[in-house]
């Protein structure tokens, strides 16, 4: 039965995707992207990926829409030109889709426990996590410890992307011409959303911290928590105007956060070397190797969360400042 639910959600997803490509109104396309994100998160949950669904919830529902909309406000809402080489592209795309679908017939069936993916390292992770790290969430264990190098790389990609956006949008002549006093007030005149939003902000922050520190026991971790905390500050900025948000967490502080996150991560790795282990080997951080692993994961998750919060908020402010 649950398989049927998944199939239904996927069908809706395909319809949404076609509608996204067909519409020439970019605002509508962004709204439909929001729907696609919700559908795909539901699907991730059906496919047992609770952590991934939580990430998609944190990123797709709020931050992605906010970023796309602020970019639309700076450019244009309408797609003016017709598609180029429509027929040729359709032929290419259809042919490639056919080849891909043909290739899937060789794939193991959905949910097959004997598929090559399931028989390689995954059983080892599931078996050894209680022994080496002793935390219930295997995803966090793999993310933080077994594949710590990967995560370090991802954190640096996020870091680089954030710095890139700041380089692109942090300088130059802004093109907007809105009156300063009007742009700064946010949604302050919409009383009801403002009151409700103010009630929600502390809860979102609290939930973000819960996700950060509960990530070893349930779905969660630094990536999700960073996005959720950033979302709460973005909510504040939308309600009270961007200036008030900047006076709470200034651009300088955010820059600091962007830099401190990877530094914490790297420092934990180097501490491993100094204490006689390997880079990112947390076992030596404490006299008890298991406790050391847990401490290491806690620290690097904190680093990840700080980086993600800093980057997402800086990016949001960079786009918002451009509109002035």
């Amino acid at each position: 039965m649950i398989v049927i639910f998944g199939i239904f959600l996927l069908t809706l997803l395909v319809i949404t995707a076609i509608a996204i490509v067909r519409t020439d109104n970019l605002f509508v396309a962004v709204m439909l992207m929001g729907i696609a994100s919700l559908l795909i998160a539901g699907n991730f949950f059906l496919l047992d990926a609770a952590d991934v669904a939580l990430t998609e919830a944190a990123v797709g529902a709020g931050i992605s829409t906010v970023l796309f909309l602020s970019a639309l406000a700076l450019t244009s809402e309408r797609e003016r030109a017709k598609s180029s080489n429509k027929l040729l592209s359709l032929v290419v795309v259809a042919a490639a889709a056919m080849i891909l679908i043909y290739a899937t017939f060789d794939k193991p069936r959905f949910g097959d426990p004997g598929a090559p993916v399931q028989t390689h390292v995954a059983p080892w992770y599931l078996e050894k996590t209680p022994e080496y790290i002793d935390i219930p969430n295997v995803v966090t264990a793999v993310l933080g410890s077994f594949r710590g190098y990967d995560t370090l790389g991802e954190v640096f990609v996020v870091f680089t992307a954030g710095i890139g956006v700041l380089f692109l949008l942090g300088s130059g002549v802004p093109l907007g011409s809105l009156p300063q006093d009007k742009i700064n007030e946010g949604l302050r005149h919409h009383l009801i959303p403002r009151v409700v939003g103010r009630v929600l902000i502390p809860f979102i922050l609290l939930f973000g911290l819960y996700v950060q520190f509960h990530g070893e026991y349930g779905p969660g971790g630094g990536f999700q928590a960073g996005a959720i905390i950033a979302a709460s500050i973005i909510l504040f900025a939308l309600l009270e105007g961007e200036q008030r948000a900047l006076s709470v967490l200034s651009a300088r502080v955010l820059l600091g956060l962007i830099a401190i996150g990877p530094l914490i991560y790297g420092a934990v790795g180097v501490a491993g070397i100094l204490l006689g282990g390997n880079f990112l080997d947390y076992s030596v951080l404490s006299s008890n190797p298991v406790k050391g692993q847990q401490l290491g994961i806690l620290l690097i998750e904190a680093g990840v969360g700080i980086t993600v919060t800093g980057v997402l908020l800086s990016v949001f402010h960079a786009f918002a400042a451009r509109g002035r």
Binding site: A49, A97, R147, E154, V311, A318
Partner: protein, 117 residues
């Protein structure tokens, strides 16, 4: 039922190609980025689908004593990829905004025309 076992992969192929179509056929740069996001979503779907095990549950141990868990590795890869994806999309949007400021347009062919002048 046997053939439905491939449905997720077909959706992956179709979504991937819809995103790809938006990237190659559309001239609006933001539309191209939206297409790229769809493309990403398709890849995420492929990975997570491969990690699913029949009768399994999410790879988080609990007191209920479930014995079968789905594969944690694809989930780790995609979890980080989603956040990286939004960061890189933001970078792309930043480039588009700068292009709009320099050229006054976000349509690919108009930008090319201005360049050729």
């Amino acid at each position: 039922m046997e053939i439905l076992g491939l449905y997720n992969y077909w959706v992956f192929a179709i979504l991937l190609m819809i995103g790809f179509y938006a990237v190659i056929a559309k001239r609006n740069l933001i539309k191209k980025l939206i297409g790229l996001s769809l493309f990403q979503a398709a890849v995420f779907l492929l990975y997570i689908t491969m990690g699913k095990v029949d009768g399994g549950t999410a790879p988080i141990f609990s007191d209920t004593g479930a014995a079968i868990f789905s594969n944690p590795l694809p989930q780790v890869l995609i979890l980080t990829a989603i956040v990286v994806g939004i960061s890189t999309t933001a970078l792309g949007l930043g480039i588009v905004v700068r292009l709009k400021e320099e050229y006054g347009s976000i349509e690919e062919h108009e930008i090319q025309e201005i360049d050729e002048r």
